[in-house]
């Protein structure tokens, strides 16, 4: 248990824990924000009350996730100062400014309009409300933009140089538009959207299988599916572009992602390992299944590599990432999920075209619905895996090639970090269980289909804010429509 007295290791563990936990919540609020913009827009256009009720129902998940996203994001910001003070000082010129941009461009916008979006239905007119919904979604996505800009810059620091241990920026736009930036932002943008779409689709599928509000949820599933038709293939494409960039800019990470210990020269084909057990001590894979000559096709769509692929052995152990197995399998997990999503989307689209997803038929699609339920948590796993590849793969550097992680950590007693780490682990575990519990309760209660529709005559009490236990909707299907 040597690591318990190493404040660098503990700070890394704390950052990893808080980042992995934090990431779960903004993923949904960022992607779902766009979904809510779509349904509210359709409602305003068609005035079909169903879409209004969709907006109200799905925003319950939004708000459940939002509070935790905020609460767990604040420790991330402050940790740069508490646990990574030398990094903050060295990289503050650029990295700190970008954190400031995120707060001012993104958080404030989202926070200020969220209240109106959630509680303002009766207080502002529909156009203003819609504007609030749009601004909340814009705010959340601007947050992705700035955070991914900051993180990309940590991967490919551009636009300046280290002078006396501090990064001096010569060209801000070059630093912002660093080599990784555009693809990283897009990859994350599609990741949040895809995860949210499959969560919404998965929950909808659950209702369909449970025989509850089928017409209502067939609709939300189809909205999610329609969006996924564009998003799932695009995400695979952007993912591929990101992989290519890693090949060019972060050879150590690529070697770890593919568990390549030996180098392959340019102009020759290289084998691709499909599955392996990497052994860091022996610097080889204990066991592996390889696909001959595939790596060139994967990286460049051609047989022979145009530049050499450097194996891990080319670097001294202290200059390359550790936990090769973790990086290798996290990478494969992410890709497998990406393809699973695309496959599920294709299959569902096929059934849709055959008319099998209509309100009357959808309940018969039992296996397809089970597939969607299975897909609901997978997006989260893919996102977390992607971040593990990205940030564990960047090691031993905090700022790739410039600042080592050991030099980036604050000099604080390990006991302090141990106490805060334990605190985070405990509190976050409780929160995780609580969210699952309350989330499942929202699902079990189902949508409140009796909400008054703004701008329509009501014959019910004005505000029915606490729906009781689930009461089956016994109206004929036509009425539910």
């Amino acid at each position: 248990m040597e690591f318990l007295s190493d404040s660098v290791v503990l700070s890394r563990m704390q950052f990893a824990l808080t980042a992995i936990f934090h990431m779960l919540w903004p993923v949904l609020t960022t992607g779902m924000g766009i979904y809510l913009v779509i349904v509210e827009g359709v409602w305003l256009k068609t005035r079909n009350p169903d879409y209004y009720l969709h907006a109200r129902f799905w925003s319950k998940f939004y708000v459940l996730n939002f509070g935790i996203g905020v609460a767990t994001g604040i420790p991330m910001e402050f940790q740069f100062g508490t646990n990574w003070a030398p990094f903050s000082e060295a990289a503050g010129n650029f990295f700190g400014s970008v954190i400031g941009f995120e707060a001012s461009w993104a958080f404030m916008l989202e926070a200020a309009f969220l209240g109106i979006m959630l509680f303002g239905w009766e207080r502002v007119n529909p156009a203003i409300h819609y504007l609030a919904t749009i601004l909340v979604a814009v705010g959340a996505n601007l947050s992705t933009l700035w955070i991914l800009t900051a993180n990309s810059w940590m991967q490919t620091p551009a636009g300046g140089e280290m002078v006396n241990g501090k990064f001096i920026v010569h060209d801000y736009f070059q630093a912002i538009l660093n080599p990784f930036m555009v693809n990283s932002v897009l990859h994350m943008f599609f990741a949040t959207l895809e995860t949210s779409l499959f969560v919404i689709g998965g929950i909808s599928a659950w209702y369909v299988l449970k025989d509850r509000h089928q017409a209502f949820f067939a609709k939300s599933l189809k909205i999610a599916l329609a969006a996924a038709i564009a998003v799932a293939p695009l995400q695979i494409y952007i993912g591929h572009l990101s992989g290519e960039q890693v090949f060019h800019y972060q050879p150590t990470k690529l070697a770890a992602m593919e568990a390549q210990w030996e180098s392959s020269p340019a102009g020759k084909p290289a084998d691709w390992s499909l599955l392996a057990i990497p052994n860091e001590k022996a610097q080889k894979n204990d066991w592996e299944i390889t696909v001959p000559n595939a790596l060139g096709y994967i990286l460049e769509f051609k047989k022979n590599l145009s530049e050499p692929l450097r194996g891990l052995k080319e670097w001294q152990p202290e200059d390359r990432p550790h936990m090769v197995g973790l990086i290798y399998y996290a990478f494969r997990t992410m890709i497998a999920i990406g393809f699973f999503f695309a496959g599920l989307m294709l299959l569902s689209t096929l059934q849709w075209l055959r008319g099998k997803l209509s309100a009357e038929n959808i309940a018969q699609q039992k296996w397809l619905m089970r597939g969607w339920i299975l897909a609901a948590p997978l997006g989260y796993i893919a996102v977390e895996s992607g971040w593990i590849v990205r940030c564990v793969g960047r090691q031993p550097w905090t700022l790739y090639g410039q600042i080592r992680t050991v030099d980036a950590a604050s000099h604080i007693p390990a006991s302090n970090v141990l106490v805060s780490l334990t605190g985070f682990a405990t509190v976050y575990s409780i929160l995780f269980v609580a969210v699952l519990y309350f989330g499942s309760r929202i699902i079990r209660r189902g949508p409140n289909l009796n909400l008054p529709i703004p701008g329509m005559e009501v014959d019910k009490p004005a505000v029915e804010t606490t729906p009781g236990e689930f009461v089956p909707d016994e109206r004929p299907v036509e009425a539910q429509e």
Binding site: A71, N93, S104, A111, A112, S410, L431, V463
Partner: protein
Amino acid sequence: METLSYFLPQVWFVVLALFLFLYVMLDGFDLGVGILSLTSSDDERRGILMTSLSNIWDANETWLVLMGGGLFGAFPLAYGTILTALYIPILTMVFGFIFRAVAFEFRELSTRKFFWNFAFGAGSFLAALGQGFALGAVLKGIAVDETGHFIGTTWDWLSIPSTLVALTLIQAYVLIGSTYLVWKTTGELQVTHYKTAKLAAWTTLIGAVFITITTPIIYESARSRLFQQPLVYIFAVIPILGVWLIWQLLQSLNRQEERAPFVWTILLFVLTFLGLGLVVFPYIIPTKITIYEAAADPSSLVIMIIFIGFLIPIMLFYNLYQYIVFRGKVTGGQYGE
């Protein structure tokens, strides 16, 4: 270039002070209401208290995130040093934020509200406590070497003066929280908070008097600064003005006015803040490191002014708009759907 390296850090000092002030004022009443919820007699009242914050707590808290981000970008050295030195108070505050933020969602969904009520109240208290100790420790001075890096120990922030500052800050939050509730509520709840406001006004006054008297006695550095010409006149006026404001506040509470107490309290916060700013300036780590020494590269400061500056009026506008949308008294204890 010479003038720029003086001018830019000063601009950022003022901008960050503005963010911090907005934070202290807005999340101040927010946290104050949270602390007061610990004393609420029943669940309906706690519900109303939380409703009065449901749509604004997040935006209020964001001013701190903004201040943090700005400090990180504009004075990276200070950001690292201060936060490292204040590891425990900062983490205390962060955990407090976590508890109270999730309490908003979970309380509404929960059938057993006791736990989340407590999480909200205790979280607010912890956040205020952490901030109070942080403020106290910064005023007392952080141990740094000549390059501005922290060389103190884990518990440096804990001392009798910093405890006094922490307690006074909590009282001030309770005061502004009470006057906010006087403004936003009616009936019995309002009557209760007239009382808590009055009590908090007295305890805050006592704390402030203690701090004002003891600071120059204990700290040599503060003494030389306070009695410097011509600042001494300003520092003489501030306590007098402060006492006058508290007297006005107590009067308006006695007259059962609804909005005036909140306004007087805000003016008190402005005055205190101006006083603190004048004591601290031009230091960012008081009496050790000036804003000029800790500032980021001038090019960073310029780009931050370009990227953030134009947003300041816009941010103020839409925050204000939000308050306008939700103006009026809080009714009922339902804040979510």
